[in-house]
Symmetry: C2
Subunit: 137 residues, 2 copies
DNA sequence: ACTAGTGTTATAGTTTACTATAACAGTCTG
DNA sequence: CAGACTGTTATAGTAAACTATAACACTAGT
C-alpha cells in the first residue's frame, strides 16, 4: 500500500477507495475484518477520526458492518455489489470525461488500452509534436 | 459549457481545467481574451474571487497574460506547451490509476471503445455477472 | 472628465477537511 | 475483575475553499 496522499481528494475518500480496491482485487474477502482504525491511523500517520470517517462511508454504502469492540467486517455480497456499482459509476461518469481528455490531448484510446503497462517510473520523454488535431488559424 | 460543478475538485481548479480544455480544443486561440472575471462569475453564479483564482493559476503557469483594465489574454505558444505538459501529466499520473481501475472492474476493451458515447440518458442495465477475476474461496 | 468595462485587493464570515487530545463503550483473554 | 484490544463521541483548533460586499487601479470610448 502506498503511504502517500493525493492532493485532489480528501484523505477519507481516498481511504475508502483503497478499501474498495482491495475488495475488488480480492485482497480483502467477505467476512474479513478491516485493519483497525487505530492501526491504520498510526501506520499512515493520520488522525483516527479521518480513518473512521472513511470507514463509515463504507458502512453507509452497506459494504461493511461495524461491530463495537470487535472491529469492522466486510459484508457478504460486498464484492458483487461493488463490481456492479463501481462499473456503472465509472462508465457513466468517469470514462466519458477521460475519453474527452484523451481526445483533446491527441492521444489514441486504442493505443492506451493495448500497449501500455507502465510498471512505475514510466515518464515518456516528450512526444515531440506528433499530431495536433486540426489547425484552422 | 456546463453550468455545474464536480464535488471532487475545487471550483477554481475546474475552472482552470475548462479553460485549458478550450485552448486544446481550439475554442480559445492564442491572443484571444478570456471571458471576463465578472462575466464568468455572473454566468456561473460564482464569486468573482473564485474565478480570479482559477485564472491566476493559468497566469502562474505562463499560459495567460493579464493586462489590467484590458483583460486576460492567451499567450503565444500556450497550446503546444499545454499539449506537451498535459500529456505528460496524464500519462504519468492519471492513466496508471485509470488503468488499474479498469482492470479491477474487469472491463473489456470493447466495452470501453464501443458503447461509450452516451449522448445523455444511457444507463447500462446490469452487466449481469460477466467475468469476476479469480475466485478462490 | 465621465462612464463603463477590465483586473485586483481588502475585510470578514461560513463550511469542510483534518488535526490533537481525551474520554466513553463494547468484547475478549487471562 | 483487570487489561488490551476493538469502534465511537466530545471538544477544540487550524487551514483551505468559497462566499458577500466593497473599494481600488487601469484602459478605452464618448
Amino acid at each position: 500500500m502506498e503511504r502517500e496522499w493525493n492532493d485532489n481528494q480528501p484523505i477519507y475518500r481516498q481511504l475508502r477507495d483503497r478499501v474498495v480496491a482491495m475488495i475488488l482485487e480480492g485482497v480483502l474477502k467477505e467476512g474479513d475484518p478491516l485493519p483497525s482504525v487505530r492501526n491504520v491511523a498510526a501506520e499512515y500517520r493520520v488522525n483516527p477520526l479521518t480513518v473512521l470517517k472513511g470507514y463509515q462511508q463504507l458502512v453507509a454504502e452497506g459494504l461493511v458492518e461495524s461491530r463495537r469492540g470487535r472491529g469492522m467486517f466486510i459484508n457478504a455480497g460486498a464484492r458483487s455489489v461493488l463490481l456492479q456499482g463501481e462499473r456503472q459509476k465509472f462508465l457513466g461518469e468517469e470514462w466519458p470525461r477521460i475519453q474527452a481528455a484523451i481526445q483533446r490531448l491527441g492521444l489514441k484510446v486504442e493505443e492506451l488500452l493495448n500497449g501500455s503497462r507502465p510498471s512505475s517510473t514510466a515518464a515518456p520523454s516528450k512526444p515531440a509534436k506528433s499530431d495536433p488535431p486540426e489547425e484552422e488559424s
